[in-house]
């Protein structure tokens, strides 16, 4: 039965893309980053920015808590 304590939270994150994470592993890595805030219900990469040699990923997500 559904609990009244179920909540939704929108988050926007900017995270550095580690060099050792290939594109083929990015989805799983991103899910791990989001899990610290709650179960990801809906998420996407909305931008990729370069800060020198470091790629930064912008994420927008809705998390369940």
């Amino acid at each position: 039965m559904s609990s009244p304590s179920l909540s939704l939270r929108s988050v926007q994150l900017l995270v550095p893309w580690p060099e050792e994470i290939p594109l083929s592993a990015l989805r799983g890595w991103i899910r791990q980053q989001l899990l610290s805030g709650g179960e990801p219900l809906r998420w996407a990469i909305t931008a990729i920015e370069k800060d020198g040699d470091i790629r930064q990923i912008r994420l927008e997500a809705v998390l369940l808590g």
Binding site: S2, S10, R42, A44, E60
Partner: protein, 351 residues
């Protein structure tokens, strides 16, 4: 076409203002074309929902976005069906007359289309939908009472529904600049993000095909209405397309072994997505599994391109959905797409 169907995933993310597909089911012509080219198209409600307008094609599998993500990640598989029994879930926050309009659509779909619909339930509390935009300009949103949504869904499932059409009351803002822009064929569908959250919640919780239609007051006539937004202003509801789509939506299977006829991630032969919107979970899951990606020119508010991702895997660029359809036919017939372009690269010679 003699070649066997080529199971293809077609993605047009909702709420990012895609030039094709960012409005009222305006990606349907493209979906029809890709379904003809592939013989088996798996796509999501944003592509196929045109409010009062819809298209039913046995080659098209209607799968809600959360289910699509799980399918692409090989966590779930799809079992085509002849018919679903669609429970209708209405937000207690819908005014009685507007609620009756939704029920009349359901009645019409039963009588005139032969759809299996019922029962109907109202949530035990108003869902309290709110809308927002992310920093990217993409649409998002939330619910004040997700528990009420899920309780109602559970009751429909327990009463025998095998799919759920949900109608939530959305805030009216007829004077908003964003709505005016949308009606003129610009900007982002501000409702889309919250709609996705609602249907994602139900699919995640119930493992049933689900789709959402907003309940809104009708808008005054706009003589300058963009054609792509017109389908949403033909009637009192957005529900008919959802009922038609769900009527043959495949079952979502998260356990056991696939049966003959089931669609699994292993069977996916291509994914078609807008060139600048490659950062969603389903696309990334397909890239993990080396599914050939056809990136179509289809402008949106996002710029997550192959270059941004430094994508080096097998990638096919399409200038249009017509081009994409041609690429699908080539793949389906076993023709190397490189042979269709000039200049033709030389043979690789190993030393």
């Amino acid at each position: 076409m003699s070649a066997a169907p080529l199971p293809t995933l077609m993605l047009v993310p909702t709420g990012i203002g895609c030039e094709i597909g960012g409005y009222a089911g305006d990606a349907m012509p493209a979906a029809r074309l890709l379904a003809a080219a592939s013989g088996c198209l798996i796509t999501h409600p944003n592509v196929m929902n045109g409010a009062s307008l819809y298209w039913s094609d046995t080659r098209i599998q209607y799968v809600e976005g959360y289910g699509l993500d799980r399918f692409a990640a090989a966590e779930w598989f799809l079992r085509p069906v002849r018919r679903q029994r669609i429970g209708l879930l209405l937000d207690a926050g819908i005014e009685p007359e507007l609620g009756q309009r939704q029920i009349q659509v359901a009645q019409g779909c039963r009588a005139s289309l032969g759809l299996d619909i019922g029962p109907v339930i109202h949530t035990d509390a108003p869902l309290q939908v709110t809308l927002a935009l992310g920093a990217s300009g993409a649409s998002t949103g939330s619910l004040g009472r997700p528990d009420a949504l899920l309780r109602a869904g559970e009751r429909l499932r327990d009463a025998g529904a095998t799919a759920i059409a949900v109608v939530a009351r959305f805030p009216d803002d007829p004077a908003s600049g964003a709505l005016a822009a949308y009606r003129q064929g610009a900007g982002v569908d501000g409702l889309a993000g919250a709609e996705a959250v609602i249907s994602h919640l139900l699919v995640r919780h119930l493992r049933l095909p689900c789709a959402h239609a907003p309940a809104l007051d009708p808008l005054p006539l706009d003589p300058q209405l963009d054609s792509r937004a017109a389908a949403e202003e033909l009637g009192y509801t957005f529900l008919a397309c959802v009922l038609v789509g769900l009527s043959r939506a495949p079952d979502l299977i998260d356990h056991g072994n696939p049966q003959p006829g089931d669609l699994t991630a292993d069977s996916l032969a291509a994914v078609v997505a807008p060139e600048g919107a490659l950062g969603g979970e389903a696309v990334l899951a397909c890239l993990e599994r080396h599914v050939p990606l056809i990136a179509v020119a289809n402008q949106s508010v996002l710029q997550v391109t192959p270059e941004a991702l430094e994508l080096r895997a097998k990638l096919l660029m399409a200038a249009s959905y017509t081009d994409a359809a041609g690429l699908l036919v080539a793949l389906r017939e076993g023709i190397n797409p490189e042979a269709l372009r000039r200049p033709l690269a030389g043979l690789q010679i190993l030393t």
